[in-house]
Point group: C2
Chain length 217, copies 2
């Protein structure tokens, strides 16, 4: 199994956490430097025409793309420990929370979008930071509103089992730090993230622990 990765990619952070939780070590981790635009070069474009990280190549050559699809794949092919609860309603809540982050929020702050704002709309650095701050805040408010009152919230987003919602929440928290968003106003989010980040599988997967990452942001 080969993983295409970059230290800063939050979507790849999700996949790294899942791999660690499942005890899977990729045979190779291939660096695609998003800051140098390597995801747009022909070599990677052939792997994933969407030119986005992560991508995973299975031993038979099958290419997997989109982080949530990869998480579900890893859960189906390596069921222990499970990353989704059993009941359909619980699964829907976990997937819904994950998608607030992975669909409604993260795609708005990825490099290609920030670059479009800067180049096409001439938004300055402060404006791009404000943009990122805004969408992160919207997501954190929605997540806190759900997590703080739901009877299904436990040690983690859904009861006491680590799920893909927690994996996405850890990525959300890392992304919030990129945009200087304080988690203090979102105490349930912060509690769950802190609980997750104390776990080795999460901590080792953190962007700042990857090759090429700076010591701090």
């Amino acid at each position: 199994m080969k993983l295409f990765s970059f230290w800063r990619s939050l979507a790849t952070f999700r996949v790294r956490i899942a791999l660690n939780l499942k005890g899977i070590t990729p045979d190779e981790v291939i660096d695609v430097n998003l800051m140098q635009g390597k995801q747009r070069e022909e070599a990677f474009r052939k792997i994933n025409p969407m030119m986005a990280l992560p991508a995973l190549i299975e031993d038979d050559g099958t290419v997997l793309f989109e982080s949530l699809a990869i998480l579900e794949y890893l859960d189906e092919t390596h069921p222990n420990p499970p990353l989704l609860p059993r009941g359909a309603k619980a699964r829907a809540r976990v997937r819904g929370l994950a998608q607030i982050i992975a669909c409604d929020t993260h795609p708005l702050i990825v490099p290609r979008v920030r670059e479009y704002l800067a180049h096409e709309f001439k938004v300055d650095e402060e404006g791009v930071l404000r943009w990122g701050h805004h969408w992160h805040t919207q997501a954190l408010q929605a997540l806190e509103a759900n997590l703080a009152v739901s009877p299904h919230t436990g040690r983690y987003c859904q009861g006491d089992q680590i799920t893909i919602a927690d994996i996405c929440l850890a990525g959300q928290a890392a992304g919030s730090s990129y945009f200087k968003v304080d988690l203090a106003p979102y105490p349930t989010v912060k509690r769950i993230v802190d609980t997750c980040m104390a776990i080795d599988a999460f901590a080792r997967a953190h962007p700042l622990k990857q090759p090429g990452a700076p010591a701090s942001l």
Copy 2:
């Protein structure tokens, strides 16, 4: 079952297609007028703090949100006809294609983002149209690149079975028409969309067939 819907919402279009394919008729369809900002009012905010459509309330009061999570829920609770293939790799491809649309593209062109661009960055109408056109084109190029060469593409995105990838592709095509993006340069996408839209479950779910919709765009 209650469905919160708006004619123009592409994410709700996805859920309507799935409901039709599964032969489920919601007891009530509640209109949330996105053009009037009704999704931000307290009544709907209590249902979905993310203030986005669709939302689905089950008979026991369980609230479901995020269209892909709802599609998976409907598939788990009403397995026939299935909306995902059987093999893990095929499922990953279907989910990946769906997520190119539902994660990487559609969230960029929803009302709240268009409104932010207009109000905060003073992007004019032509600029917002260009923005929508750009992201649709990026997605269509990536989807065509995958669908045109993959040996797994058949009558539909994955073989001859309708899946959530086709459902999302139909939404992508409807969204592309909002932004005047021609599908002609993407013949495989267009062929699959045309095949889908000839099916009653897709055709009846189309935005322009919903209460309150204009005769054309």
